[in-house]
């Protein structure tokens, strides 16, 4: 979280000036954009697809809905939402990083997903949308990289329609100590090596592992969502808590 008194924040385990974090995160994602999908499959052994499927099942999305896929990266969720909401609905894929947005747009167009999808480069802290606009907002593996998470959550609350819901899919804290050990070993020893070997970029994946450890745990994030106004907030631990899906409503 941002320490406002002296204007610093964390970047992985390093402490940096708040206004630098955006650029540093951006450079990580510029450098991994092209290999993002391959690396996701490899690093999570394909399980990230199941996490995303679970998110869609929990979304309650229907034809005609307006969906915002924040930090949507290469558009995995957008593709599915686009098919479900149909011609009467719309999906907005927003990402702060234009490299990721370009990769996402190219991928979705190649797959014939056009018509109800728009692409917006936006900062989650200052969403450029009117109040009470979306039926559903999802942010999958994105909140971690946002500098001021409270501000981002408040911004999401503002653009969500009353009755709409927010889904946050993010790495979290494993609930068993044994799993935690294995997971730590995997993320600090194996993961950066894999990044080195495949994407030729060990540093970015070192950042990934560190930023996951710095991210608030299940209960803290739940509290943060409640603080900005979300109600009936609950979370599901997936794969032993390595990932958690938080869901909150605006009434």
């Amino acid at each position: 979280m941002t320490d406002k008194s002296n204007n610093t924040t964390h970047f992985g385990y390093k402490t940096v000036e708040s206004d630098q974090k955006v650029d540093m995160v951006a450079s990580v994602f510029h450098s991994v954009a092209a290999k993002y999908d391959v690396m996701n499959d490899l690093m999570s052994m394909g399980i990230h697809r199941l996490w995303k499927r679970f998110t869609i099942d929990c979304s309650g999305v229907r034809p005609g809905h307006k969906v915002l896929d924040l930090a949507g990266g290469t558009g995995d969720l957008t593709a599915k939402f686009s098919r479900i909401v149909g011609d009467t609905g719309s999906v907005t894929l927003a990402d702060i990083n234009d490299s990721m947005l370009k990769v996402g747009r190219a991928k979705l167009r190649d797959r014939g997903i056009v018509g109800n999808v728009t692409y917006v480069q936006a900062n989650a802290e200052e969403l450029p949308f009117p109040d009470n606009h979306f039926d559903l907002i999802t942010i999958a593996f994105g909140l971690r990289n946002v500098t001021d998470k409270d501000k981002a959550l408040a911004s999401m609350f503002r653009v969500l329609k009353p009755g709409g819901r927010l889904l946050v899919l993010e790495f979290s804290k494993p609930d068993s100590e044994a799993l935690n050990k294995v997971y730590d070993f995997y993320s600090f020893n194996i993961l950066p090596k894999m990044g080195e070997l495949i994407a030729d970029d060990g540093e970015s994946y070192q950042y990934l592992a560190e930023s996951i450890r710095m991210h608030p745990n299940q209960e803290t994030l739940k509290g943060m969502m409640e603080t900005v106004g979300f109600e009936s907030v609950e979370y599901h631990n997936l794969t032993g808590g390595i990932v958690a899906l938080h869901r909150g409503y605006k009434f």
Partner: protein, 203 residues
Amino acid sequence: MPIEMLVTAGIETLLNQLLKADANAVDKIASLKGKVLKVNIAELPKPLYFIFSSQIDVLAKYDGDADCCMDIKLSSLSRLQDSSQFTALIKEGELDMSGDPMVASKFSIILKELDIDWEEHLSRYTGDVAAHKLLQGAKSSQAWLQNNMMIARHNIAEYIIEEIRLAPGALEIANFCDEVAELEQQCKQFEMRLALLSRKEDV
């Protein structure tokens, strides 16, 4: 959670790969665009939702209304291939359907009419010659298998009837049936005769 997701992911991938393999199926699925089919399989804890667009998406949870809803047992699933069986299944109480039945029957027809040129698809990975040989091999081994199954069935039947005389042969059964029919006839004649005689006695 992950098991459910694995099931829906598996079904979805399989269906879409099958559809992709047949160029016509993709056009046909477009006629169902925007429709939602809910299938409740009695043996599974959760329903499956099939959402049609340019492809098929399978969800385990869906908040909207399905256009068509089916309740069916796992054992009757294979009979759904033939949409003309729907009424029979409903009458037998094996299938319960509400909503627009066209969605279900169209889907069943699309799956039934899948016409996949396996040789063509295989040739992309192995080359034409190998694909042709492989499929030819598969076809001839299928024929060989069927032929041998038939011979085995014949042999077993012969052993049961002729060797250990556990069951009667076809001719024996026919003969026995004829004899039974004849006996029945004689019984009837006897009954009529008896009735006639007893009436004479009364008079």
